[in-house]
Symmetry: C2
Subunit: 499 residues, 2 copies
């Protein structure tokens, strides 16, 4: 029996405590498993590893064992990495960033469906993705009434718990119990035609429960763990990301002066990664006060803004910190929870709320073409990098839709600005601002040929400008149509720097 | 002085009645003009023609005269056609379908910005598209208090009237005065951060005024006209469009049987054109009752559903009828107005409402690629056809997102299913169902390679199947990544039929 200070406070569920090994054995070949986890936070720490061992053993016996893995977004080596390594994943959705998983997908041995993050929960409710057999969800505690305290990400956990036939819980005592009360789990969703407005009008509005409801009869196992989330390492802002951040801050200041943004801006959304993190760091020393965020992920830079008082409130679906900031947040949870709310990703990324709030959306990209089409997911049209994540939810519905990247990749040998994107995730209709360390292209109110001019001029690296300009000039002469001039014979060819 | 039965019932505005010629003379070179008009309905009938004459005369004198033309969507030969013919348009937005305009755009002599139709009004309010100088709006009557009765389209008229410095009204007595009361003009929009939920939960909800508010001091001219809207001709459903409709109806029936749709379906959105119209005609003889629509445009087929009682309510922003149906609707306006509401296009196409209602979205396309990316706008990547219209507003937020087209074009010499779309308006993330006369591809829950299989098998024309299959097979061997296998050297090449 667990000690009296166990996080498993429900007597009914206490009887279901078992080892990760035993719990993992309850998952069968061919099942779809909804796991917690979003940008390396709040994923189950032990069961996926144990499951990978079961799968490896089954494969050793010549038995088939592969499952469908559904999550919030990316997880960690202990989940995606471990299961991919033993070839245990048949189908993965909706987002991943694990190197082993990526390699399997690009080798054609794992299927992957890249989905707008706001779409996932509703597709499951609609019955579009098939049956969900098992939920494996990390929680911070099981309360006496059987309700569950979420941890560092909410993601799709509500939907997994509601829809799965069987539930396995990991109760992770590493998390500060003061997390209880930080979350806002909305139980007002319905299937059409019974849906009602989602009553969020400011980032801080609370519209739901602080815990997950959970049918105790569906819980087949409870596993106690004690482990921190994956360590997300951020590189310190370098000259390139600082330059990108500088251009964005200058632009935001300009918009305030023109009366197109209030002095406290509008709620910020900041994508995942180093450049996004650098923009947040830039805001720390910038002129804007009373900032808010309505975003997907709260990273180090945004936590600094909250701790310094520059940002008054942040709504997200996940925390994604470096080890140092994770410790800090865990220590100071009680202090932070009045300024942070974590919601289900269908709410954090909901088009209705994003459009209503007028979010300023800032996302990274792989490449943009000279007409403003953005590729966020594929290398050379065929190799998946990570996935679209929430960038489409935000960009299409944002007040300002900003995409950013260093102007070159691979030590300057590849241009991030290309004649024609080899894959399109964000169309010309959804992209307003492009930023590289070279500068910023404001595409609002510009027709395609006008866009090409400012994109080449403001954002391309000098070594690639001549070849891009040459392509555009020749397309102006040789294209069959002059609305979006292109030379299809060479539009997708890799371009090379002019030195 | 007008007779006592004039539609201009405001004494203040009666004094501003003048000829179209005189009114048009109040528009100056370089101005941005917001005109009424949406899919050939409710556009000003006389002023654009008179303006075209002024422009032609100015050009004859060697004077520059070009304006920016902003509308709801497409208009008519008397507006786009006339102004384009005299080279009077510098910039056109957000949608057009006029042959003369299209030719100018593709020749590179007119700039065109293709915008999601739900974005236009808010971009103007945000100040992203520049200053609006003049509004030229058709109305059915000016009431004694100066408010305006809309006609057969609402489009962006509320925004034009609110934002323009000067207003010119065309009062068209062709329209049945019983139109008054059919419209729902929402005045609850705000700029962020002050936006509130849009309180529509069923297609028939009325949340606004029946008329436009209008500052009489901004009205500089009133012109009286008497003319019907453009005659939209629909070809009778042919074997191809009937086959497409048949596949869709069969699919919807299947979804009802699987419990994924209620028997009365969910609100329908149907794009513009003959195929969309044929689907509506198919519903007439189909098994579904108590249908509703939350759509952009009400065409002949949908009017038939309303008249037969199959459809109980339709919400749209415009009527777009053949001459015969237009006469019928005009005659029976009083009867129809309890079953039809016309709203501003920012509301008819609002992501918030479309997602909430769970709309079944059916739109035409130019081509789809084997992975499900859809091109709605460009021929061979460079020549604009019409524009994206509202297809993106609906597809991204729909319960079911369906795109349809005949499997071939140009007498069977071109395939509508191609290796890689030469322009992408709807990404793989937004396309669930593809339909041609050959069959239907249900892409829900499928990874890219799985999609390619069903798209080629179910939707490609038999004469193009072998070449598409061959491309896919070779890409499976030769692509640098197997997530979305492609051979970039030939991905954009036109494919040829195998006989």
């Amino acid at each position: 029996m667990p000690s009296h200070d166990s996080r498993v406070m429900s007597a009914a569920l206490r009887s279901k405590i078992m080892s990760a090994e035993d719990a993992a054995a309850l998952v069968k070949h061919g099942e779809n498993v909804g796991m917690s986890g979003f940008t390396g936070s709040g994923y189950p720490k032990e069961i996926p590893l144990a499951l990978a061992r079961h799968i490896e053993a089954a494969h050793g016996r010549g038995e088939p064992f592969r499952i469908g893995v559904w999550t919030g977004a990316s997880t960690a080596p202990e989940l995606d990495g471990a299961l991919a390594k033993v070839d245990g994943i048949e189908l993965r959705l909706p987002y991943q960033s694990d190197p082993v998983t990526r390699e399997r997908i690009n080798a054609g041995s794992m299927d992957y469906i890249d989905i707008h993050l706001s779409h996932v929960a509703q597709f499951v409710w609609f019955g579009f993705l098939g049956h969900l057999d098992v939920a494996v969800v990390e929680v911070a505690a099981i309360l006496p009434d059987g309700s569950l305290v979420p941890t560092t990400s909410v993601g799709n956990n509500k939907t997994w718990l509601d829809r799965a036939d069987r539930i396995i819980l990991e109760v992770n005592s590493w998390h500060n119990p003061a997390l209880q009360g930080m979350h806002d789990i909305y139980y007002g969703t319905q299937l059409p035609p019974y849906r009602q407005p989602i009553p969020i009008v400011t980032p801080g509005d609370r519209i739901g429960d602080t815990t997950f409801r959970c049918d105790p009869n569906k819980v087949i196992a409870v596993v106690e763990t004690h482990a921190p989330d994956r360590n997300n390492t951020f590189t310190p802002p370098d000259a390139t990301s600082q330059a990108i951040a500088g251009h964005i801050l200058e632009f935001l200041g300009h918009e305030v002066r023109r009366g197109r943004l209030p002095p406290e801006l509008l709620p910020l959304q900041s994508g995942v990664g180093n450049v996004a993190n650098a923009v947040m760091a830039g805001l720390e020393s910038g002129p804007f006060e009373q900032l808010t965020a309505y975003t997907e992920v709260l990273q180090d830079g945004m936590l600094d803004l909250i701790r310094s008082g520059k940002m008054t409130f942040a709504s997200a679906t996940a925390l994604s910190f470096s080890a140092e900031k994770a410790e800090l947040f865990n220590r100071d949870t009680a202090m932070h929870k009045n300024r942070v709310v974590l919601r289900p990703q269908e709410i954090s990324n909901h088009p209705e709320v994003i459009r209503r709030l007028g979010v300023i959306s800032m996302n990274g990209m792989i490449e943009a073409d000279i007409y403003g089409n953005v590729n966020s997911t594929h290398i050379r049209g065929s190799r998946i990098m990570n996935g679209i994540g929430g960038s489409g939810d935000f960009a299409r519905n944002a007040y300002l839709s900003i995409f950013m990247t260093p102007s070159t990749a691979k030590n300057g040998t590849l241009s991030s600005i290309v004649p024609m994107a080899t894959h399109v995730d964000h169309t010309e209709h959804d992209v307003q601002i492009l930023v590289t360390e070279q500068g910023l292209a404001d595409l609002r109110g510009l027709a395609p040929r006008q866009r090409a001019k400012v994109i080449i001029e403001n954002t391309a690296h000098p070594t690639f400008k001549p070849v891009l300009q040459d392509y555009f000039d020749r397309a102006r002469r040789g294209s069959t149509g002059q609305h979006t001039p292109h030379l299809l014979d060479e539009a997708l060819r890799a371009i090379h720097p002019v030195s």
